[in-house]
Amino acid sequence: MVRFLGQAALRLAALMLMASLAGALLMRAAPGFSSDDQELNSGLSSESIQAIRHGRMDDANIPRFYVRYLAALAKGDLGTSRSLNQPVKDLLRERLPVTLWNLAFALGLGWLLGLALAMVAQTLRSRALSFLAGGLSGAFISTPAAALALVFLLLRWPPALAAALLVFPKIYRYAQNLLQQSAEMPHVLTARAKGAGPLRVLAWHIAPIALPQLIALIGVSISIGIGVLLPIEVVSDVAGIGQLAWNAAQGRDLPLLVNLTMVVTFITVCATLISDAAQRGFTRSAA
């Protein structure tokens, strides 16, 4: 257990460092990095413009920026956003709950819809229902997140619902395949032949086999959820970290983008590690 936790912490640290460094290198290589929109502000004095340029040049040296950033991070200082002129910590405190709330709603509803439909289709074994659920999931899996967000904007429906409908088909398809495979196992066929009802078969014979793999899907679904929320937040003008990342990338805001990449990596890697650990624990206890 201690070894697993140690390895997981090392992996998390390595991936977060790689992600933040990649974000920094990307911003440095982006055209227009050394210039700032504020330089065009005629209301600023030449000293202020020089100070802005000096600030940009400071960030241009990536190794120096990165070492300073890590040193400040160790003290809990995430730096200041260049484009929004606010401490990154305040921006994250303001925006992160919005994204996390939308993510929780999207995942909750997506999982509920996906699992419920897969279980009902498996229990009833209705071809019409399977066809309907397959068609519905196929339509949403084929819709770009940004386009669905635009349609939802037009209909004035909540953006988090769009995210839920984009998460749902992945859960449904995976769960349906998994339940189908489990239902074809010899002991399930025997239970059915002995007269066990569909609900009893699902609860006692199919679900225990499918559950560990479904738990492993939680981590992946969080990554999918964050991925679809970014275009949805941008299109629907939701003040979350997706919109913040978009603004940071367009404004060549190095401190903000590096921190956002780290936060997103932290959430997805932690979710994957926790779901992997839960899957292992469940498999061991079942064995």
């Binding site: 992996r11 390595a14 991936l15 790689m18 992600a19 990649a22 974000g23 990307l26 911003m27 982006a30 055209p31 227009g32 196929g138 339509a139 899996i141 084929s142 819709t143 770009p144 997140a145 940004a146 386009a147 635009l150 349609v151 904007l153 037009l154 990554s223 999918i224 964050i226 991925g227 679809v228 970014l230 275009p231 941008v234 299109v235 997706g242 990342a245 978009w246 990338a249 367009q250 060549r252 983008l257 990449t261 997103v264 990596t265 997805t268 890697v269 994957t272």
Partner: protein, 268 residues
């Protein structure tokens, strides 16, 4: 399901025909402007009407399909080659090489792909020529979208390296390029083909996401994604439902890929 597959094949063949014969099916070029008929409703001359610049929407849809459906497979080819390289090297050499490759794969998998793609594209210049924007968009898709496939290839290559016939081949003196060419590649062909096929609809959707956000192919060149930008004009959308046709075409084409994909996955 057989009927669904037949319909999917017919849809994809029709899309391929539309892409190939766009020059003959379109009433005008994708950038030709009819200035006397801007924002026109559907008519025999303009089956889907015209946009705010007076360009024929039907022509732009056909040429947009050509751009998306031609370049997405090329991006999928690039990502599959990268996946084969990284996954193959990891599976073939094992040990530290495998750990390093897996860390790289994990890194790309840990940052949500769409987040990474949109952030990278937003950081790149937007005021570039249409041809350059097409190249940048689809090369970026290929360069950033290989990690999930690499994991599958790595597992496949590792299994093969531990299989009896590869051990026998190595015992009889096969090694290096000969082993890869004669034993690994032929046995990984199915997995590589499946990964290539899976990547095509994913890349079409990713391009559509970029296009809808204004980060995809530059004007005046159309793509299925850039045509979705017209949806942003939400106020006028209600009386003009034909503007939704690019989205409907996209959903039908991708759904057809998905229907055929299940078969490919089973084969792999």
């Amino acid at each position: 399901m057989r009927a669904a597959r037949v319909i999917a094949i017919i849809v994809l063949l029709a899309a391929a025909a539309a892409v190939l014969f766009a020059n003959y099916l379109a009433p005008a070029g994708y950038e030709q402007q009819f200035r006397e008929a801007t924002q026109a409703s559907p008519s025999p001359q303009h089956p889907l009407g015209t946009d705010e610049l007076g360009r024929d929407r039907w022509a732009r849809l056909l040429y947009g399909m050509r751009v998306s459906l031609t370049l997405a497979p090329l991006a999928a080819l690039l990502s599959t080659l990268l996946a084969a390289l990284v996954g193959g090297v990891a599976g073939y050499f094992g040990g530290w090489t495998e750990r390093c490759c897996k860390l790289l794969i994990d890194f790309f998998l840990s940052v949500p792909w769409l987040f990474l793609l949109i952030t990278v594209r937003a950081a790149l210049p937007l005021n570039i020529s249409p041809q350059a924007s097409v190249t940048v968009t689809f090369v970026l898709l290929g360069l950033l979208g290989w990690s999930a496939s690499a994991r599958v290839i790595c597992a496949g290559a590792k299994d093969l390296m531990n299989s009896e016939f590869v051990w026998t081949a190595r015992a009889t003196g096969f090694s290096g390029f000969k082993l890869i060419r004669l034993h690994l590649l032929p046995n990984l062909r199915g997995a590589l083909f499946a990964q290539f096929w899976i990547s095509i609809p994913v890349f079409i959707i990713a391009e559509a996401n970029l296009g809808a956000l204004g980060l995809g192919v530059s004007e005046p060149l159309p793509s299925l994604g850039s045509l979705l930008r017209e949806l942003q004009d939400a106020v006028t959308l209600r009386p003009e439902p034909w503007r939704l046709l690019p989205l409907a075409v996209l959903i039908v084409v991708i759904s057809s890929f998905q229907v055929l994909l299940n078969k490919q996955e089973v084969r792999a």
